[in-house]
Point group: C2
Chain length 336, copies 2
């Protein structure tokens, strides 16, 4: 049996830079038609020059694959209308990190003072530029995302024309928020459809499944699966695939992030097949994102078949999810 | 300033065996007058012969320190009155593990069928042998201990003359259970007075703070601190100090356990001093246990002073809590 996907998109991706970029970029560009590229480099991507240069380094690394990097800028409240307008089509969205909340987010936003954020957010509304948010407070680790929902509400209400993307949601509370505000959308990762805190810390501690936001409770995973499998029109696939070298994961202070890029489409197909929802997969991995972002990705036809994919132990220095295990679907052909 | 402790006791300790035993036993026997020794070796300690031989290996490893190992047996529902009576004073308590719940617990109890457990538990009641329980279900990791409270209730009600020790409690629910049944007692570790899940997985993942039961919420830690600092007469210090080699902690499937033995008294003194509760420390680290277990440990006077202890990076292959950090109190003298 085969499944055909048209121009799959990964709407939340970390490609890093330099050596790591050269290892991981082709693993996404091989099977995806495009991806929304996170800007949390050191230093963060916050100028047109930096954004275009990063885009070019990404294109270099993708080795001629049909692949569109949708670029994002690291949110700063100093951005104004003229500054943002000057990016033209090169800028797809702006990513907002609460300060210090995850990898390379030290210079993010502290507090969510509407007055302070308003000039930039109003300019974005006028330009139709979506705002992507890593929505966590610095509260107790299991509560951080749910505690952030009132901030989503505040922003969605204050800026009704701004499209706000709740990134990599992990809780029932965030899922519930989707239907309460017209301008709230969400990305969902592969791993949060699969794991709970039990997988991270319920048996042995498993650093390669440690990520931010941390995986939550079974009830949360069910809520995520429900909207993903039904391809709720306001949710999109965003892998949040986040590579770290093996030594940074298996050490005293393990870095946060799960690396799923090379196996994401195979595993998503397996999940959607097993739950009799494969008819919705095209929407979840592409059509919803096209609609929400108003983008037209390059044409790329990915055919998957029910032949096992054996996941390697590592890609360069990076250990993927399901390392050394097998997934029941695999990519058969990619037509351009 | 100095603080004097008389015959401090650690009522929940893992000493392991062989090489590891020789490294960790002196680190407890140096400063404690006695400790309740957990029986989860491979194979578990479940015969008189094994128990006496383990006791002798422990005494050999403690290098002549004044130290009494209070021995425990691995619970089996096949133990009867005569079998248990035959241990005489060599047996202090029996440790029950739900099957597969933690390190080397594969052959523990599955299900808690009162009828099946009754012969052994009635024999224990008659002999005045306490039952120590690792109280976790195999539910969601944050709920396991709270879910076990009804089992404590069931056992405490069915066997009113049996002293039941809720080992290394981590939740408000277990604290609340203490006052509901006369025959329920509890040990509390050092690390559960200090950390929450935020310390384990809220920033970077910290394998050396990963333990079972996993550290819970701030509200739980406050409940534990409250009964410990007030030396609630039904709570005792039990470190659950559980050494693993560094490579087993910093790896893909990190083993559960925090190693605190060598710094436990210094850190407890710091905590009790900082919270103006030092008058209760003697009860928490010795007197309550003597009363509950009816034991008279060897005389050993430990004097601590407010001079910093610099915690080494490792003891042999084992990384302690606070490795490379400093504690504001230290042991000054030990009089026998």
């Amino acid at each position: 049996m085969t499944i055909e996907l048209n121009s799959p998109l990964d709407m939340h991706l970390h490609l890093r830079d330099k050596e790591m970029l050269s290892v991981v970029a082709p693993l996404t560009s091989h099977s995806f038609a495009g991806a929304l590229i996170m800007p949390n480099l050191i230093p963060p991507v916050d100028t047109k020059e930096a954004l275009l240069a990063y885009r070019d380094r990404i294109l270099d690394a993708t080795q001629g694959d049909i692949f569109k990097p949708y670029m994002t800028l690291f949110f700063r409240d100093s951005y104004d209308y003229d500054f943002l307008k000057n990016f033209g089509n090169e800028l797809t969205a702006i990513k907002l990190y609460p300060a210090g909340i995850t990898t390379n987010s030290e210079s993010g936003v502290s507090g969510f003072d509407i007055k302070k954020l308003a000039p930039t957010l109003e300019a974005m509304s006028e330009l139709g530029l979506p705002l992507c948010i890593h929505g966590e407070t610095n509260g107790f680790v299991m509560d951080r995302e749910a505690e952030f929902v009132p901030i989503y509400t505040k922003l969605a209400t204050a800026f009704p024309k701004l499209k706000i993307m709740m990134e990599h949601i992990t809780t029932k509370e965030s899922v519930d928020a989707l239907d309460k505000h017209e301008n709230l959308y969400a990305t969902i990762t592969l791993h949060h459809l699969l794991i709970t805190l039990d997988d991270v810390a319920g048996g042995m501690l498993r650093p390669h499944l440690f990520c931010k936001p941390i995986a939550k409770r079974p009830i949360d995973r069910e809520a995520l699966l429900n909207v993903a499998l039904n391809a709720h029109p306001k949710v999109m696939f965003g892998s949040d695939s986040a590579p770290h070298p093996k030594h940074a994961k298996e050490s005293c202070g393990c870095a946060a992030g799960v690396f799923t890029a090379p196996l994401a489409l195979a595993k998503l197909t397996e999940i959607f097949m097993e739950r009799s929802s494969v008819a919705n997969l095209q929407k979840f991995v592409s059509d919803n994102a096209r609609e929400i972002y108003g983008i037209t990705p390059p044409v790329k036809k990915v055919v998957l078949e029910d032949t096992p994919m054996n996941v390697p132990l590592n890609y360069g220095e990076v250990v993927p999810m399901y390392a050394g295990e097998s997934i029941s679907w695999s990519i058969k052909t990619i037509e351009k």
